[in-house]
């Protein structure tokens, strides 16, 4: 059955289809819907539902508090050690969950990537956003614990968003490079788990940075872009007498090293993403 009259008429909105604002709108919609879906899915099956958002960190912090301050009595000489540990764990937990979740995002949402045209960045970003909802709740509960442990609120707490933004930026670039690499090479997933474990012990999460002996070891530890984050978190939130990053780092090289690392990760992300993003659907 042919319809000759239809053949000559051009289709109406002009070449390509969606303007920039429409594309931005679609990008944001996709990130939001995918993130909220993932977030809600986590709690959909449980009886207590979203109450676990508060209960889980409460229980985790309770256990950590008991283990580190009552059982092995670690960090007795460090002021407000328990509070420092709890907040550090909140930040590192977000780093671990967000990077892992972003890394697996293309593969986990392969059916979407292969069936509809989605801006590739929307997939890992939605995975990070879903974990961010949990991070936000953990922060609220964590600060409750910190106050309960005797740390008084102070003006420097207002600087916390700087640290959160730094962490989110780091997690985002790492998440993108990991997602692009994992879509191409599954070995990346195998390698990332031990790297995370290494980072946990190499970062000043369970100990203050200045406990690392000065010299080579401290310089190496300073390459880790997480190091200045945990140092400033302690100084700004827990103990104003603790050293700031330049002082803790101990040298100009060590002071700049984590930011150079961060910049190198950004460059690697740019090239990895540029080389992959158009062909992700084919690689899955």
């Amino acid at each position: 059955m042919s319809n000759a009259s239809a053949a000559a008429e051009p289709i109406g909105l002009g070449p390509n289809r969606v303007d920039r604002s429409e594309r931005r709108r679609r990008f944001l919609d996709l990130v939001w819907i995918a993130a909220t879906t993932e977030f809600r899915r986590r709690y959909a099956e449980s009886v207590l539902g979203y109450a676990w958002l508060v209960l889980q960190p409460l229980m985790l912090f309770g256990v950590l508090y008991l283990v580190f301050t009552r059982v092995i009595r670690f960090g007795g000489q460090i002021p407000d050690y328990a509070a420092m540990l709890l907040l550090n764990i909140v930040f590192f937990y977000f780093f671990r969950e967000a990077t892992t979740s972003a890394m697996r995002s293309f593969v986990a949402r392969g059916s979407i990537v292969r069936s509809v045209r989605v801006p590739p960045l929307a997939i890992p970003l939605s995975a990070i956003l879903a974990v961010s909802f949990i991070f936000a709740t953990n922060l609220v509960v964590g600060f409750g614990w910190v106050i309960a442990l005797g740390v008084s609120p102070r003006l420097s707490w207002l600087l916390l968003p700087v640290l959160v933004l730094y962490l989110v930026a780091l997690v985002t670039v790492l998440g993108i490079v990991l997602a692009a690499s994992f879509a191409r090479l599954r070995d990346v997933g195998m390698a990332w788990l031990p790297v995370l474990r290494l980072l946990f012990y190499a970062s000043p999460v369970v100990f203050p940075f200045e406990l690392i002996p000065k010299g080579f070891l401290r310089d190496v530890a300073a390459i880790n872009p997480l190091s200045p984050l945990f140092v400033e978190l302690r100084t700004w939130v827990i103990d104003p007498a603790a050293p700031h990053w330049p002082e803790a780092a101990g040298s100009t090289f060590a002071t700049l090293a984590p930011f150079v690392s961060f910049a190198l990760i950004c460059v690697a992300t740019f090239f990895a993403y540029r080389g992959t993003h158009g062909r992700i659907a084919e690689r899955l």
């Binding site: 059955m1 319809n3 289709i11 289809r17 069936s115 509809v116 045209r117």
Partner: protein, 386 residues
């Protein structure tokens, strides 16, 4: 260190593909499995990049390559309607605003708060299809997802697609269902090995598709009488070939309306059979049986046998009362057992064929002669039927 080397096979899916689909057209893409139909849709949709060339689309496009993209079984039906709508191109606000319409169309309002995993598979595809229709793009790419649900829902979907046509929306449809191509499409294109084999009238393209399929079935030596069958009770006769033929005995895949259908089959008898008979059944594209006469004895004399090594050719002529569309003739050989009656003696062979022509001549599958006589009606005044 033993490393697993990543192996790539470079596959050139298309070369020289160039075609245009006009606004308001319903365009079908057909082809055998692996001919590149779905890949072509993904390239048009921007999911796969083309190595060279250009795809230009005017208007908002929604690819429907899979039903229920983004569905999450743990979330309620209503939320899944929103998720699917956004995946297909609606904004969150639009998707939320259209949720009731989606649930109404899918007839799932009473299940709106139920988790998706508790719905039947039929309900899920209804929801997915209803979401797809609500996206209302200018150009819709559909991959084999046109007929879902029960008959009533299918009719509703067909009406909705017809309404899209009336509003000048464009649809590019990939399918193996030739009746759908003939019924719905304004034009169609046959892909074969990454090239355009034919483009134009959907009836002609559908017929060519069946011919190509037939050619490849023969080339591949696909014979229904496989070893397993040969060893079992079906292994008395192998139907070596079966096809629709013209008056000169040449194979063909199409017949014009009312032109008698002539089927030819060559048998290879592997074990002696008593009372061998040919059984034929003709079905329409929905599997509905259109015609099945009693088994026809191959040898007239009672007690005669087909002997091992016999290779008889059977020719069967059937009156053609079929409406344009796709049909399948299923041939098999039976044997008569004194104790157990008629038993199959060969594996059946299917012969697909198309009755060409416009499907606008009526619905159904049969063109039976009919006449309307009106009586006891007073004459009308004014304009009447001339």
């Amino acid at each position: 260190m033993p490393l697993i080397r990543e192996r790539y096979q470079r596959l050139e899916v298309f070369t020289g593909i160039d075609f245009t689909v006009a606004k308001g057209e319903f365009f079908g893409i057909v082809g055998r499995n692996g001919s590149g139909k779905s890949t072509l849709l993904k390239v048009i949709a921007g999911i796969y990049p083309a190595d060279a060339g250009r795809v230009e689309i005017h208007g908002r496009l929604a690819p429907v390559l899979d039903l229920g993209v983004g569905f999450n079984p743990d979330l309620p039906t209503r939320d899944n309607a929103v998720i699917n709508g956004v995946m297909l191109g609606l904004s969150s606000r639009q998707a939320r605003a259209r949720t009731d319409a989606i649930l109404d169309f899918a007839e799932l309002h009473e299940f709106a708060e139920m988790r998706l995993k508790n719905l039947s598979s039929g309900m899920k595809v209804r929801l997915a299809f209803a979401s797809m229709l609500q996206t209302d793009p200018d150009v819709m790419l559909i991959d084999e997802v046109l007929a879902v649900g029960d008959k009533a829902f299918q009719e509703k979907c067909a009406e909705s697609m017809a309404e899209r046509r009336r509003r000048g929306k464009t649809v590019v449809l990939v399918t193996h269902a030739m009746p759908a191509v003939e019924r719905l499409c304004d034009r169609a294109m046959l892909l074969e090995d990454g090239l355009i084999e034919q483009i134009g009238d959907p009836g002609t393209v559908a017929a060519r598709y069946l011919e190509v399929n037939l050619e490849h079935t023969e080339l591949a030596g696909e014979s229904p009488a496989d070893e397993e069958a040969e060893q079992g009770s079906l292994g008395f006769v192998h139907i070596a070939s079966a096809s629709l033929v013209d008056g000169a005995g040449q194979r063909r895949a199409t017949a014009t309306p009312e032109e008698p259908l002539e089927l030819a089959a060559t048998l290879e008898v592997t074990r002696p059979i008593e009372g061998a008979a040919l059984q034929i059944e003709i079905c329409n594209d929905r599997g509905g049986r259109m015609f099945m006469p009693p088994p026809m004895p191959i040898l007239d004399a009672e007690g005669s046998r087909l002997r091992a090594g016999d290779q008889p050719t059977l020719r069967l002529e059937i009156e053609n009362r079929f409406l344009p569309g796709s049909y399948t003739a299923r041939l098999s050989i039976l044997r008569t057992s004194r104790h157990r009656g008629e038993l199959p003696a060969s594996r059946p062979v299917e012969v697909p064929f198309v009755v060409s022509g416009s499907t606008r001549r009526g619905a159904g599958s049969m063109a039976l002669r009919h006449a309307l006589v009106v009586e006891n009606l007073a004459p009308r005044t004014g304009a009447g039927v001339g």
